[in-house]
Symmetry: C2
């Protein structure tokens, strides 16, 4: 009706970017889903629909759920089955919790070869055994051809908080050291390269793996461990922006300290992607009090999944919510929250 | 290669019937999913991938998960949002548990009108508030057009066992009275009639509703309440067959006692369906010791959702696993486990 785009009209339908973990996802949550679903008087302090939350009246137990729709199902370093275990185990882990039990709900497209289903289910079971978390319950639904794409998996996890640890995205403080447990960009570029046949599959393997033992190794840091997050959808940029916003701090990181593997950098260059926006499934960001930074780094490096742990920056007093990167040429640039989809169906 | 059908070849791909809650679902679970996923040494006694299970080391807490793929999204008496709450609340309730917390994971097709999403989310929130269970955490994924059908919802629930109740599908005993809390066949025929435009929509309304308060009303029956189940996918026939198998008893029911509403009977006649195979979302089967039958019936009838409660039969000593119906003309017929899909995407 008008040549001027109307932001309301643009948003009348769900967009791919609404599921990308960036600003559009946050808008959908805050403007539609939370008001519609929320309002229960006894909701937890974080409010509903966060990634993980304590159970009402049982703060030692946390609950997390995640749907997995990765395409293709199989990629270097994993598949949708192992990813569905690692993703939920890690959402519990960054709440400072050990996984206690998992549930698995499958939505399968009619016609999926049983061999693929067996492979995915076997990989899921193997990942659960390796993480030492039992799958206690499940559900299977089948929809007609064309009504889903092969298989979607929703895993829900219950975890037990590790005594003495209470990390929260709202507990980062000015002066905190910002630590990263390993290289970034591997998962997203591995999946994308496989999907598009870009030829990086030989050089890039997803980092998908469970991180709860890395968190246990940090237990001696105790209350000085302020914040843990795994930078999945939206990448490190989204995670740092969320922590800066929720804690009311600024964050400064050094480009020179960022562990971006060469093949990831090449793939991102080719595709016009920012490695800071690419999803990871096996690394973790920690904000720790400066007095604990060296001990935390040493603890992370003591485990295989943390051998590449580095300090990438620090939290500062403000402006609240701002994330800056000191670039290789000595400038500073703002690290924005990704807006919408960069890599759909990456997890 | 051969003119003789090879059962193995027939089953090389996932069929719609694998998700219908009948014999094919059981086969898929037992021959493929449980062996692939299972094997964790500390699994619960029921084994993995049951509908609901106690948490390891915390038997007072139970966990249940269910994916909802109902088509269409809106039907008389509910929609996918309210159904996703009721289904999981009821899976907890029939374990003798009060719902403590829910998680919600959405897989949305790109292009879904935001108005439909708002309506579904609002209905989900309303159902959760009415059931007095908080939605504590969630997840949202978006897939491209054609990669899903509008929206799928997976809800996972944690419940607290009601002291003194320990119903189990394996605890039915010969002599038990078999009680049914209300009419059967409403949900499945309401959804099917809406989907196909059959014109029964004015007369048939889904029975979708939460049953946990009905279970609480049964608390005084205590240990004499042996088994509770909600006959969803596969209908009353599947539920009675599962209980007979798991408890090693036979079950005999009276056709004359079965509450089948007139419009449901008409719809089933027209469509060639057996009301015993049609899904319900708001009624419950109870096996109780004969000495408690009258008290249990009275307790159920004291609540709105149980006003239509009736005794439909009894458990007998055997043959184990056999379900028989005494028909209106005085004959007996075997009530079989449904094999595959009768009504796909009914929940």
């Amino acid at each position: 009706m008008s040549s001027c785009p109307n932001p309301h009209e643009e948003h009348e339908r769900v967009l791919l970017g609404h599921g990308a973990g960036g600003r559009l996802t946050a808008e959908l949550l805050e403007s539609l889903l939370l008001p519609a679903v929320g309002g229960f008087p006894a909701g937890p302090p974080e409010g509903p629909l966060e990634d993980a939350a304590p159970l009402p009246g049982r703060p030692e137990l946390v609950m997390s759920t995640d749907g997995f729709v990765v395409h293709p199902l199989f990629f270097p370093g994993g598949d949708i089955g192992s990813l569905a275990v690692h993703g939920t185990v890690n959402d519990l882990a960054v709440m400072g919790a050990r996984p206690l039990a998992l549930s698995v709900a499958l939505v399968i497209e009619e016609g999926l070869p049983l061999s693929e289903l067996r492979s995915v289910a076997g990989s899921l079971g193997k990942a659960a055994r390796e993480a030492e978390v039992p799958v206690v319950t499940g559900d299977t639904k089948v929809v007609g051809r064309g009504a889903a794409d092969k298989i979607f998996i929703t895993t829900t996890g219950i975890g037990t908080r590790i005594p003495g640890l209470a990390p929260s995205a709202a507990r980062a403080r000015p002066g905190d050291a910002v630590l990263l447990s390993g290289p970034i960009g591997l998962h997203g570029t591995a999946v994308l390269s496989t999907r598009e046949g870009l030829g990086f599959e030989a050089d890039i393997v997803s980092d998908s793996r469970p991180l709860h033992r890395l968190v246990e190794a940090l237990a001696p840091v105790g209350a000085r461990l302020h914040t843990l997050r795994d930078p999945t959808r939206g990448g490190l940029a989204a995670t740092l922006n969320e922590i800066a916003r929720d804690s009311g701090v600024a964050v400064e990181i050094d480009e020179s300290a960022l562990p971006v593997p060469g093949p990831v950098a090449s793939a991102c260059d080719l595709l016009g992607l920012d490695p800071l926006h690419v999803a990871n499934e096996g690394c973790m960001v920690a904000f720790v009090a400066p007095s604990a930074a060296e001990a935390a780094l040493a603890a992370m490096r003591s485990r295989a999944e943390g051998t590449g742990a580095v300090r990438i920056g620090e939290a500062t007093a403000g402006p609240a919510g701002r994330v800056l990167m000191r670039t290789l040429v000595g400038a500073r640039r703002v690290v924005d929250m990704p807006i919408g989809e960069q890599l759909p169906r990456i997890c």
